[in-house]
């Protein structure tokens, strides 16, 4: 990696706006993302190390029976260029339970939600899920939420909608609203 060619950027998280009471008009799907929702994913070794393989399986399958244009397969090869990568990590922010990072290429260039992504990483944070005593249903819901981001679904702007894409600890899978948004992005 040639750092002299790197451009410095500021990374932040979008949930900050609602925490501070700022009204921001989010679209519920992003214009960018992967070119297809028929895709592969690879589980980093951290997933089995922390024991979240079953949770990610369930979360992945939550999105697999909604649209014929959406299916997330499991990949065994890390070098599969088409594969998203799922991780289990730890965060210094004690309220962060999940994060999705999009990349433009395989050299670590982060992408905007309006960009065409090469792939993305989905992370759930073990230390914070445990410190908040999240049960298995809540962990699966959290993983489903993050995988939803990998499918270009945003947090719902209208917060009265029941949706797995709403922020916070929940115990639900994709709702009618989530399914509608998924189909609007990728087709039926």
């Amino acid at each position: 990696m040639n750092s002299s060619k790197k451009k410095r950027i500021i990374l932040c998280v979008v949930s900050v706006a609602s925490m501070l009471g700022v009204q921001v008009a989010f679209a519920d799907t992003w214009s960018g993302g992967r070119s297809s929702a028929l895709r592969y994913t690879y589980y980093d070794s951290s997933v089995s190390t922390y024991g979240y393989g079953g949770s990610f399986d369930s979360a992945r399958n939550n999105w697999n029976s909604i649209s014929s244009k959406v299916f997330i397969y499991s990949s065994l090869s890390y070098n599969d260029p088409k594969a998203d990568v799922y991780y289990v990590g730890n965060s210094s922010d004690p309220t962060l339970i999940g994060l999705t990072n999009a990349y433009k290429d395989h050299s670590g260039t982060l992408a905007f939600t309006t960009d065409l992504w090469a792939y993305c990483t989905v992370t759930i944070y073990d230390n914070n899920m445990k410190s908040n005593n999240m049960n298995s249903s809540q962990v699966i819901s959290n993983a489903t939420h993050e995988i939803g981001h990998s499918l270009s679904l945003d947090h719902p702007y209208v917060t009265s909608n029941s949706a797995v894409m709403k922020k916070g600890i929940q115990s639900i899978g994709p709702t009618t609203y989530d399914k509608s948004e998924l189909k609007s992005k990728w087709g039926s």
Binding site: K5, I10, C12, V13, T95, L96, G98, S107, G168
Partner: protein
């Protein structure tokens, strides 16, 4: 300064609004990552773009919930400009291109203490370190 984890969790939320960079603050838990890298501070005139990452957070629906959960509530101001603070990024061990965590540490001078736990003895005028989920990193 050593503060317990619960305090670290709660303090930040309240301090955030005083920092003025839209950040969500926490005290840094230095035990979390051993492979943090410190980003080189950019030149002050360097143009920085912002990438917002999508996350799932423990949510507070109102100020009462937020203030009740917080162990420490203070007002004050950071002592350095944003670009001059300590920017940390950690990557997953199996792929140094994949960001695991990121935050910025800021020296923060307390003007007023609104709430603190009995075990702490912070005073007005004291400087504490505050972490925020925002950082400067290198990108293509």
């Amino acid at each position: 300064m050593i503060l317990n984890t619960k305090l670290k969790a709660a303090a930040a939320v309240i301090i955030a609004s005083t920092l003025g960079i839209g950040g969500y603050s926490i005290y840094r838990n230095s035990q979390i990552h051993s492979n943090n890298s410190i980003a080189q501070a950019p030149a002050s005139d360097e143009e920085l773009s912002v990438i917002s990452l999508d996350a799932n957070y423990i949510k507070f629906d109102n100020f009462l919930d937020l203030s009740t959960t917080a162990d420490l509530i203070v007002t004050g101001k950071p002592l350095e400009n944003f670009t001059e603070r300590q920017h940390y990024v950690s990557y997953f061990p199996n792929d140094q291109n994949h960001v695991q965590d990121f935050y910025t540490l800021s020296n923060f001078k307390i003007d007023k203490i609104i709430k603190q736990p009995p075990k702490e003895s912070l005073k007005n005028g004291e400087v504490i370190q505050v972490g925020e989920s925002v950082s400067i990193i290198d990108n293509q």
